[in-house]
Symmetry: C2
Subunit: 277 residues, 2 copies
């Protein structure tokens, strides 16, 4: 089962980030994450498995070091056989950060290994787990592995595969506005409308708390696609490559400070700001 909470409300935050998060100036998301993990007492493990760029670990070492965390470790898995040893690196961490890259590297290299098992257990016990881009896609039970761009859903547009499974309440898509992904997220939900789609713009994160309410942090928007009240999906009968009919999708576009209750499926807009004028 995905990461059963030991006692309800005690699991750590799950934090998908839409990719390209600010790593140089304000760094709102990464600083907020570091703070959540304990600030000067934080011990953060970076999982760079999605990436083949050898500089990825050092980049995040610097960013989290600059954010003042006590210790940054790297969970080094380049082959499946590395995972058992690498899992020991996770002992005592207060937060885990999965970098971007290719999400199928994460599922094929970590799926069913001790690293995946320990990540699920740690999150259930209260450790916060964030992922950006490919790392964000991997966090939930159903992961979009790849798909075609475009605003409206086409049958076969998205390929869903099993992810890490920290939650099954959401299906995440990232670089959402930048790569025109509304259609592929809709098509993923049309198969089985139980989950909630989170389309994350770049430099934008959903901080999903133990109470299953998420808060938006960052400079872009989050498109929350709720197909739970769907009156009709044609996915059972539509031909591959043809448009999918969906009647009754609810859509919310949320920005920094907004919250969304995944249980009640209810949005709470950000507190009013002074009028522009």
């Amino acid at each position: 089962m995905p990461s059963p909470e030991l006692t309800p409300g005690s699991r750590g935050f799950i934090i998908p980030i839409g990719g390209a998060e600010d790593k140089v100036s304000a760094r709102a998301i990464l600083r907020r994450f570091a703070q959540l993990c304990g600030g000067p007492d934080a011990v953060i493990a970076v999982v760079p498995t999605a990436s083949v760029d050898p500089e990825t670990p050092d980049r995040y070492r610097r960013v989290f070091g600059d954010a003042g965390v006590a210790e940054v470790r790297v969970v080094d898995v380049a082959r499946r056989e590395d995972a058992t040893a690498a899992a020991t690196t996770l002992a005592g961490v207060t937060g885990v950060f999965l970098t971007g890259g290719a999400q199928l590297r994460l599922s094929t290299l970590l799926g069913g290994t001790d690293v995946a098992r320990v990540l699920r257990r740690l999150n259930a016990q209260g450790v916060h787990v964030a992922g950006t881009s490919a790392g964000a896609a991997f966090l939930s039970e159903h992961m979009i592995a790849f798909g075609k761009e475009g605003g409206t859903p086409i049958a076969g547009q998205a390929t869903l595969v099993p992810g890490l499974g920290l939650t099954n309440r959401v299906i995440v898509d990232q670089h959402f506005r930048q790569r025109d992904r509304m259609g592929r997220l809709l098509s993923a939900l049309a198969y089985n409308p139980f989950a909630i789609g989170l389309g994350l713009d770049e430099d934008t994160a959903a901080f999903i708390g133990p109470d299953n309410t998420l808060e938006v942090v960052g400079s872009g928007g989050i498109s929350v696609v709720d197909a739970g009240g769907l009156e009709h999906s044609s996915m059972a009968t539509v031909e591959e490559g043809k448009p999918v009919e969906m009647v009754g999708v609810r859509l919310h576009v949320l920005v920094e400070g907004s919250r969304f209750d995944l249980q009640a499926r209810r949005a709470f807009p950000a507190p009013a700001r002074p009028d522009r004028g």
Copy 2:
């Protein structure tokens, strides 16, 4: 989360059946299911949503009636808006049976509705849930919606979508030997090797108990494909339509009376029978 058990070990059986189960002579699987649900005290709800054949409900009414169960009800959902009323039919049942047909009808019509929610809750509370063919595919968290036949895995051969989610420990494929589906089950596991593949021959069922040990019942075999110890999967880099490399799959072919512990990933062969002479 998929069907959290209220107390460990208290959930009902989950029973995927490979399709074409014997409905006329010995009926080993259906009788065993009826017995498990209470025999003469059983109240069984039939969910015919996968099927568009109007005779499906009556066929199972007769079969379970002949098996001596107290009451057979039909959960009638032809459109998503029927689901809230239909879910009330489930009050007080001791078993649920999902018929064959098209599994995308199940996920698109029931996903995110009260019927799905109540089925998950009932199973967590001890009610047994069986499904045959499409109904079997739908039971678990990751469902093979469709795919191409063939013995070896090809990238893109299987389309995975979210299912009912009573368990995420297994990915089920049905009509397994009859429709040459080893390749598509392997390709589904190659994305993320955490789950265990169950290839169910026709007239063959896996009775998955609350202790996560399954027992084989029926006239065919179950191919248990355990990719948890996989040393390598090429799914992250392989091109669509090309063969997928997988190193280190464990395969067991089990027959009636055999058991498999899904937690320990260990097979227990059927007790020895007298020698053929």
